[in-house]
Symmetry: C2
Subunit: 261 residues, 2 copies
C-alpha cells in the first residue's frame, strides 16, 4: 500500500496509473480542487463567470493557454496526468472517461482549478461539528436551486448547493468556521426552509445521496463546486475536460493556506 | 453647490459636465473604484492578471464586451460619461484626457472596476488611526517595489505600493482593520525597512507626494491600485482607457459592503 499522505505522492500514483479512485481522505490537510478545462476562446467568459460567482466558483489557479502546469498551486504537477480520472466532453456530450488526457491536450486549452468543500469539512470535523454524509459514508447531497448565478457570456444557470444537517447552534459555529475559507465556498448561503431557495423535496437530491436528519436539526446549504461543471455542460462548448466527480486534483496548498486572504 | 452625498448625484454631475474634479471625500462611505478598459482580445489576460494579483487588483466588477454599464456595482451608471475625467491611450501613449469617452467607445471594450484605498482609509480614520497624507492634505506617496506581480500574458511588472507612517501599535490596529476589506487591498504587504522591498529612498516617492514621519513611526506599505494601470501602460496595448488619477468612479456599494466575503 502506497503512502498517500502527501499531495505529490497522490499525483505521482495517478500519473503512473496506480491510482484511479476517488480522493476523499487522501493527503489529508492538503487542498483538493475541482478541474474545468475549456478552449481559450471561452476562457474569458468562464473566468468572468467565476469572478462574478465566487461562492460556487472559488478560483485557486488558472493556467496560461496550452500550459498543463498549475504554477501557483502545484508547480511540479501536470494536469494532463495527475488526476485519478477525467471526463471529456464534445458539444456538451460525455465522450470519454479516461485516466490520462494527454492525447486530448491542445495548445489553446486553459485549465481552471476551483476550491472544494473537503477543505471546510476537515475544519468542521476538527471543531467537532458533525458532517452527516461522512458519518453515514455517503456522497454529499446536492440540489439545484432557483438562485440564478450572475451570467457571463455563454455561461449561465442556477446555483447548485450541498446540504449538511446541523442543529442551529452548530449551524452558527459552522458559519464562523467556514467564514475563514472564502476560497472553499465560505459561509453557507441558506439555513432552514429548502423551499425558500427552490428545493421541493429535501429527501430527493439532484446529485449525490440523501442523508438522515436527527431531531432538532435543520438543513444548512453551501454553494457547491458542481455549479461551474453544470454551467459548462449546459453551455455545450465544442470541447471541455473536467475531473470525474470525487476524483479531485491534489494541490500543494495546505487547508490553512486558504484561511483569510 | 450641489449635494454630492450620494454616488448617483456624483455620477449625474459628471455626466452633465458639472464635475470634472478629484473625488476624495465625495459621497463619503460609498466605494470608489479605479477604472481600466481594454479591448476584448486582451481582457482574458488582464482578468487573469487581476485574479493572480488580488491585493493590488481587487476586482469589484467586469463588464460584458461593449457594455458600458457596471451591472454589479451601479446598474444605473454609464462608464463612458460618469467619471469626472479619463485618460485615453494608444500604443501605451497618452493621447487624450477627456471628461467623456463616448466617442472612443467600441463594441469590443471590456471595463474593469478595481477597489481603492479610500475605503480602508475611511475605516482607519473612523477608528482613530492617523492617515498622514490626509492630515497634510497631500496625495498619498507611492513607490515601485522589487516585488514581482504574477504575470499573465502580456501583463507583467513590479507591485506599486502606497505608504502611510504609523506607530507599531497603530500598524497592528491598521492590519486588523484592513483585513476586513480584502477587496480594498486588504492587509499591508510590508511594515518597516523600505529597502527590504526594493525602495531606496522613502523621501522620494515614484508617484504622489512625500509625507512627514513623527518620532516612533515606521513606514507601512499597502498594495496599490496604481499597479494595474502601470502594468497596462507597460504592456502598451493598441488601445486603453483609464480614469484620470484621483478622479474615481463612484459605485453604489457602501464601504461596509466590502467587509468580509
Amino acid at each position: 500500500m502506497r503512502d498517500f499522505r502527501t499531495a505529490a505522492a497522490v499525483r505521482s500514483a495517478c500519473r503512473c496509473g496506480e491510482l484511479a479512485a476517488p480522493t476523499p481522505g487522501l493527503a489529508l490537510g492538503h487542498v483538493q480542487a475541482n478541474l474545468a478545462v475549456v478552449p481559450r476562446e471561452l476562457a474569458f467568459d468562464f473566468l468572468l463567470f467565476c469572478q462574478r460567482n465566487p461562492k460556487p466558483c472559488p478560483l485557486l489557479d488558472v493556467t496560461e493557454p496550452g500550459d498543463p502546469v498549475p504554477r501557483a498551486v502545484a508547480p511540479d504537477a501536470d494536469l494532463r496526468t495527475d488526476l485519478p480520472a477525467y471526463r471529456v466532453f464534445r458539444d456538451g456530450e460525455l465522450v470519454d472517461e479516461p485516466t490520462d488526457v494527454t492525447k486530448y491536450w491542445r495548445d489553446d486549452l486553459v485549465a481552471f482549478l476551483l476550491g472544494c468543500s473537503f477543505t471546510f469539512e476537515n475544519a468542521l470535523l476538527q471543531a467537532g461539528v458533525p458532517v452527516r454524509h461522512v458519518e453515514q459514508n455517503r456522497n454529499v447531497p446536492m440540489y439545484r436551486t432557483d438562485i440564478a448565478c450572475r451570467p457571463a457570456g455563454a455561461f449561465r444557470g442556477p446555483m447548485v448547493v450541498s446540504m449538511r444537517p446541523l442543529t442551529p447552534a452548530d449551524a452558527i459555529r459552522a458559519t464562523t468556521i467556514c467564514a475563514r475559507f472564502p476560497r472553499a465556498h465560505g459561509t453557507p448561503i441558506h439555513i432552514g426552509d429548502p423551499t425558500a431557495i427552490g428545493i421541493k423535496d429535501i429527501s430527493k437530491p439532484d446529485f449525490g445521496e440523501a442523508v438522515d436528519f436527527k431531531p432538532g436539526e435543520v438543513p444548512v446549504f453551501w454553494a457547491c463546486g458542481v455549479t461551474p461543471q453544470a454551467v459548462v455542460m449546459s453551455a455545450k462548448p465544442a470541447f471541455a475536460i473536467t475531473h470525474k466527480p470525487g476524483h479531485m486534483f491534489l494541490t500543494d496548498l495546505r487547508d490553512t493556506d486558504l484561511e483569510g486572504e
